[in-house]
Symmetry: C2
Subunit: 333 residues, 2 copies
DNA sequence: TTGTAGGCGTTATCAT
DNA sequence: ATGATAACGCCTACAA
C-alpha cells in the first residue's frame, strides 16, 4: 500500500497515490508517461491528480534528476529593442521543445550580470545563453558560468575565451555596406560619416574597425547603442557644418536617433543625408523613411543555439559560428 | 566527524565539510550566516568553500525551505517597449532586495501564458506578477496561479476576479486629456479623433470608454497596442479626407506610429495634426516632435508590488490599487 | 505491471 | 557552539 507521509502545504505524489489507491511510483509513472502501464490505471491516477489539484513540484524533480529542462538567458538591456526582440524569439523557439527559457536583465551592469549568472547556476539551469554586457568586464561572469554549465556567448563576445560564440559576421556586414556605397552612392557629394556604437562590445568594435579598414569616413564618432546617442551624434554632425552626408551607423537604434534629429531639423532623407543602420529591428521597415540596414539572420542564429545545446552533451569542443548577414536596401540610404 | 557521502558532479556541503574538518551543519551555518559561531571557524569554512569552488544549490535549498526568494514575471509581449521597460524596472527594483526576478514572455498567446504560469508554479516561485494577455482569456491562467501562490495583476486586469490589481487610473488619465483639450486646444478647427488600443485588454477598454463618456470624437478607431496599428490608423484618417485633427491615442506606441505616418505624408505636427499618447515610454521625450502624453507612475506602481508582496504573508484580502497618472505636455499636442 | 526504498543537496531540529 | 540526523518532493533502480 501507499507509504504514509503527511505534508503541510501542497498536494504531493503521496496524496495522489493515497487517493488513487496506488503507490507513489505508479503515480510518478502515470503522470510523466515515461513507462507503459494499464490504461485504466493511468487515467484513474490522472483523475485523482486533477481532482486534488496536483501540480508537479519541479524543485523536487530537479533535485532528483539533476536537470531542469531550463535555459537561462541573460540580456544586457531590455530597453534595447534588438535585445528584447531577441529574448522573445529565443523564448519562442525553445518553447516548441519542452525547454523553459528564463530571462534575466543585467541592466548594463557588471554586478547585476554576475548575480544573474549565480542565480541561474544555483537554479541548476541546463545551459546558459549570455549576451555579454561588456567586452572586458563580462569575462569573469562568463568564465564562472562556463565552469559549471554549457555556456554560449550570443551576439557579442569576449574575445579569446574558450566559450563558444554565436553571432553574425559583423565584418562581412560592414563590407556589404562599403560595397553598396561604392556602387550606388555618390560619396563625393555625400561624404561618408561613421557613427559607431562604442568600443566596449565586440559587435560595436568589429563593425567600426572593419568599416575603417576599407573606407575613409570624413568623420568618425563613437558612442553607445542607443537612440539618444544617435540624436547626439546627429547634433554634432550639424554643428560641424555638414549640410549633406552618408551616415553609416553601428545599429538601427542609433540610425533611428540620427534620422529623428535630422528630420526635425528640417533635413531630407535620403536627399540631404543618407542613413544606414545595422540589425534590422522590427521598426526599421516601419520607420519613415524605411531604414536601409544590414539584417542579422536571427532565425538561423537562434536555431544554432538549439543545435549547439544538443551537441553540448559529450561533445569535445563546441566551436563558434558566425552567420552571414544581408543588406536590405530601403528608402533611407 | 563529517558523515561520508560521495557525489558525482558538483561540490556539495559534504565536500566543504570534509575539507574544513567540520560537520555539514556547520558549513551551512557558516555560509548562510544564519547563526552566530566562532569567527575563526566561519572564515575557515568560507575559505574551504572558495577553494573548492562551492556554489550553493538553490534547488536543494528551495526543497528544504519551501521558498525560493524568487518572483515570477509574465509579460504579454516583449516587443512592446512599455512592457520591456517595465520588466527591466521591476527587475531592478527587486534586485535591491534579495529577490530574483525571472521573466517569461507569453508572446501574446493564451497557451504560452498558461504554460509560463505552470512553469513558475512548478518552480515554487514565492509570488507571481502577471500582465494579462487578454481581458477574458487570461482568466484561467490567473485563477490557476492565484490558487497556489500570491498573485498580482499588473497594468492590465481581468475584471471581477478576487486577485489584487495594481495599475494606473486610466479613466483619470483620459480625463486629464479631455480637460487639456477643452482648455488649450481649438477642437473646432482641429476636430478630435480617438485611436484606441483595442477592447481586449482592460487598459485599452478603460481608456477608450472613459474618453467617450466625456468627449465626442468625430472619428473613433480601435486596433491594437502597436506601432503598425498607429500607422494604419493614420492612413485611414487621411483616406477619409482629414487635413487636420487632434488625435488622441491609447498608447505611446500607437501615437508614434501615427506621427511616423503623418509626417512622412508631409503633414506638420502639431500644426496640422496634434497627437497625444499614453504611458510615457522612454522614446516619448526623444521623438520628434516630443510626445505629449499621460505618464503612468511606474516607480510608485513598482513599489506597490513590493509592499503588497510583503503583506501577502498572512494578510486577509489584499486589495487593488490604482495610481494617479499625470499629463506631460510636450510638443506633439 | 506494480511496489519498495534510497538518495538528490540543503536546512532545521534535536542532542551534546 | 557544534554535530548527527531527519525531512523537503521527486524519480528510478531493483525487487516482487
Amino acid at each position: 500500500m501507499a507509504q504514509e507521509r503527511r505534508n503541510n502545504g501542497g498536494v504531493t505524489v503521496f496524496d495522489v497515490a493515497e487517493h488513487a489507491g496506488v503507490s507513489i511510483a505508479t503515480v510518478s509513472r502515470a503522470l510523466s508517461g515515461t513507462r507503459s502501464m494499464s490504461e485504466g490505471l493511468r487515467t484513474r491516477v490522472q483523475d485523482s491528480a486533477r481532482t486534488l489539484g496536483y501540480q508537479v513540484n519541479l524543485v523536487g524533480r530537479a533535485l532528483r534528476q539533476k536537470k531542469t529542462s531550463t535555459l537561462g538567458l541573460i540580456i544586457p538591456d531590455l530597453e534595447n529593442p534588438f535585445f528584447s526582440s531577441l529574448a522573445q524569439r529565443i523564448s519562442r523557439r525553445f518553447g516548441e521543445s519542452e525547454v523553459d527559457v528564463l530571462i534575466a536583465s543585467a541592466d548594463n551592469d557588471k554586478a547585476q550580470e554576475k548575480r544573474a549568472v549565480q542565480s541561474f547556476l544555483g537554479r541548476q539551469v541546463d545551459a546558459l545563453v549570455m549576451i555579454p554586457t561588456d567586452e572586458v568586464e563580462s569575462e569573469e561572469a562568463l568564465l564562472l558560468a562556463s565552469e559549471y554549465v554549457p555556456t554560449i556567448q550570443f551576439d557579442r563576445q569576449v574575445p579569446h575565451l574558450p566559450i563558444p560564440y554565436i553571432g553574425c559576421d559583423n565584418a562581412a556586414g560592414m563590407d556589404l555596406v562599403g560595397a553598396y556605397l561604392e556602387t550606388s552612392v555618390d560619396t563625393s557629394s555625400q561624404p561618408v560619416i561613421l557613427v559607431g556604437g562604442g568600443e566596449s562590445s565586440s559587435s560595436g568594435r568589429e563593425r567600426s574597425s572593419e568599416f575603417l579598414t576599407a573606407q575613409s569616413p570624413v568623420l568618425h564618432l563613437e558612442g553607445s547603442f542607443s537612440f539618444s546617442w544617435g540624436q547626439k551624434a546627429a547634433k554634432q554632425i550639424l554643428k560641424r557644418g555638414f549640410q549633406t552626408a552618408t551616415i553609416v551607423t553601428g545599429a538601427d537604434v542609433i540610425a533611428l536617433g540620427v534620422i529623428s534629429w535630422l528630420t526635425s531639423a528640417g533635413h531630407k532623407i535620403p536627399d540631404d543625408f543618407r542613413v544606414i543602420g545595422f540589425d534590422d529591428v522590427g521598426v526599421a521597415q516601419l520607420s519613415h523613411p524605411t531604414l536601409t540596414t544590414v539584417r542579422q539572420p536571427v532565425e538561423e542564429m537562434t536555431e544554432a543555439i538549439k543545435t549547439l545545446m544538443q551537441e553540448a552533451t559529450g561533445s569535445p569542443a563546441p566551436t563558434s559560428q558566425r552567420f552571414a548577414p544581408e543588406l536590405i536596401v530601403r528608402a533611407s540610404g
